[in-house]
């Protein structure tokens, strides 16, 4: 059992309140996943051409400024940091591959949680409340967010094993369920040059979708291919810079409730996680049918 929440704002007036709206949603699903939690948040504060990196230190008190200076020197571009507890958001104007390579050389012990033009990603062991408090999620603004509370069933409880998984810049996946043929798909992807960070089954779905997108699929098509290729139980929420998409397996084994109003699209594993949202009593509330991909594009 795990919990999924997501919020895709249509009304810009709600954007300053993204974190404030998401925190009670994810906290409500602590019972579905008490061992780890994570959130991918999307905002427009990154300067054009730059990428913002969500990094985690190997230990508290890590010297992020020195890391930023060394990186800036290596790639010849200024790098700025925002520090939140043991996490750091590092913004730099350079291609993703180049930064990832340099970070690996300069700071091999630092964990790259994700990167993007819009996405920041926080995830860790602990309850949703602890993670939200640690990283000040309640105060975060933005136009979209995806969150997960994890109850691990098939792989270790570590930061890396927790959700969301980010296989590409601005792409995040959260999963409730379990895949039964993930090892075969992992081997095939590895043969094609895709690198994995954990032995988690959800990471396989994330990398699979990332790979399909890289090959030119739309997000909807990539999610339909998940239905074709993956065996198991799943409700997936996948977010990119502009898109927000959900799908459930052929048996609808894992729950999902969608609430849509003029102001937002919200999803959660259980309805009561949506009950605190403004205007929820007038929302169109429905459960996606099995094998139906529902997606919303940021206008």
């Amino acid at each position: 059992m795990c919990g999924i929440v997501g919020l895709h704002l249509k009304d810009p007036a709600l954007e300053p309140r993204l974190g404030e709206l998401l925190v009670p949603m994810i906290e409500d699903l602590t019972g579905r996943g008490p061992d780890s939690a994570g959130l991918a948040l999307y905002d427009r504060s990154v300067p054009d051409g730059s990428l913002r990196w969500s990094l985690r230190a190997p230990a508290a008190g890590y010297d992020w400024s020195t890391l930023a200076d060394s990186l800036a020197q290596e790639i010849g571009q200024p790098a700025s940091v925002q520090i939140r507890a043991d996490a750091c958001l590092l913004t730099v104007k350079a291609p993703a591959d180049q930064v990832r390579l340099r970070l690996g050389e300069i700071a091999p012990h630092v964990t790259v949680v994700g990167c993007g033009e819009a996405m920041t990603l926080y995830k860790d062991i602990g309850t949703a409340r602890q993670i939200c408090d640690r990283y000040g999620i309640e105060l975060a603004g933005g136009y979209q967010g995806a969150g997960h509370t994890r109850m691990a069933t098939e792989s270790a409880v570590t930061t890396r094993h927790s959700h969301p998984f980010s296989p590409a810049p601005d792409l995040a996946l959260v999963h409730n369920g379990s895949f039964s043929n993930h090892a075969s798909i992992r081997r095939r992807l590895e043969d094609g040059g895709v690198a994995f960070e954990t032995d988690n089954d959800s990471e396989v779905a994330a990398r699979y979708i990332g790979d399909r997108l890289e090959q030119g699929d739309s997000l909807d098509d990539a999610m339909r291919m998940v239905l074709k290729e993956f065996d198991g139980f799943f409700t997936l929420l996948v977010t990119s810079r502009d898109e927000f998409a959900v799908v459930r397996d052929a048996f609808a084994c894992k729950p999902l409730v969608v609430a849509e109003t003029e102001a937002y699209v919200a999803v959660a594993s259980e309805y009561h996680a949506l009950a605190t949202l403004p205007g929820i009593d007038d929302a169109r509330v429905f459960e996606p049918q099995p094998e139906e991909v529902h997606s919303w594009v940021k206008s």
């Binding site: 048996f251 609808a252 949506l274 049918q289």
Partner: protein, 243 residues
């Protein structure tokens, strides 16, 4: 058409109000269990709370305001429960006796394993409605999702609207009536001719469901009867009397 006049006999019954924002689910269920037969209760502020009005073994009239969560009125034997909104998974699971009414929609596995009683959903019910039904009645005015009636052993399911894929898969003795379309039948379920007894059975369910339950479009003489083809189901109660 005559008007139905309800005459209240005896002293007026005071409605007891239990609020989900003031009381925990355990406290609410415990308070319900301590009430005498005939009590009238309103549960407020449910907002999707799970396990409301479960495990009750006496005659209470309970109204839940708004939407309720999973397992609403489950494991109960006697109460009359009305949810004014929608409910989550496992509505009236393992109901033994009583009436459970949902004015909105029900999520997956409504009336799962219900041995008795009547579960009425005014809106739609999701996948696996009436799964493993063991003798109760499930009436859904709208549509039901895929695999409804899966392995249902006894009892009746009435679907006013359409039924999703694999209806009645691996059915035993339960019978399903569908007012609308059947998207597909499950393994070992088949469409059978409607008998006079079937028409009476549907009419009786509609009488219990009541006029305001959204079944107006259902014509008891024009529903599809789905029952077991008995190709997978080989138990014979009379043979050797052993199972």
């Amino acid at each position: 058409m005559g008007e139905v006049v309800t005459q209240v006999l005896g002293p007026p019954v005071t409605e007891i109000v239990l609020g989900c924002s003031e009381l925990t689910t355990r406290q609410i269920n415990s308070r319900l269990r301590d009430l005498p037969d005939g009590s009238v209760v309103r549960i407020t502020g449910a907002r999707g709370t799970h396990n409301l009005a479960v495990g009750l073994r006496h005659r209470l009239a309970i109204t839940i305001e708004g939407n309720a969560g999973y397992y609403t009125a489950g494991l109960s034997d006697g109460p009359d429960v009305t949810v004014e909104g929608s409910v989550g998974w496992g509505l009236a699971e393992n109901l033994m006796r009583g009436v459970v009414r949902v004015r909105g929609n029900a999520s997956e596995s409504a009336a799962a394993t219900a041995h008795g009683g009547t579960v009425i959903v005014h809106g739609d019910a999701s996948s696996r409605a009436g799964i493993s039904l063991k003798g109760g009645t499930l009436a859904v005015a709208g549509d039901v999702g895929h695999m409804s009636g899966f392995m249902a052993q006894a009892g009746t399911i009435l679907v006013g609207g359409d039924a999703g894929h694999a209806l009645g898969d691996s059915l035993y003795e339960a019978v399903i009536y569908v007012g609308g379309k059947v998207r597909s039948l499950g393994s070992d379920s088949q469409i059978e001719d409607l008998t006079d007894a079937d028409v009476r059975r549907v009419r009786d369910i509609l009488d219990v469901a009541g006029r305001d339950a959204g079944f107006d479009h259902v014509d008891p003489e024009n529903v599809t009867r789905v029952a077991s083809a008995k190709q997978l189901y080989n138990f014979d109660a009379l043979k050797n009397q052993r199972y």
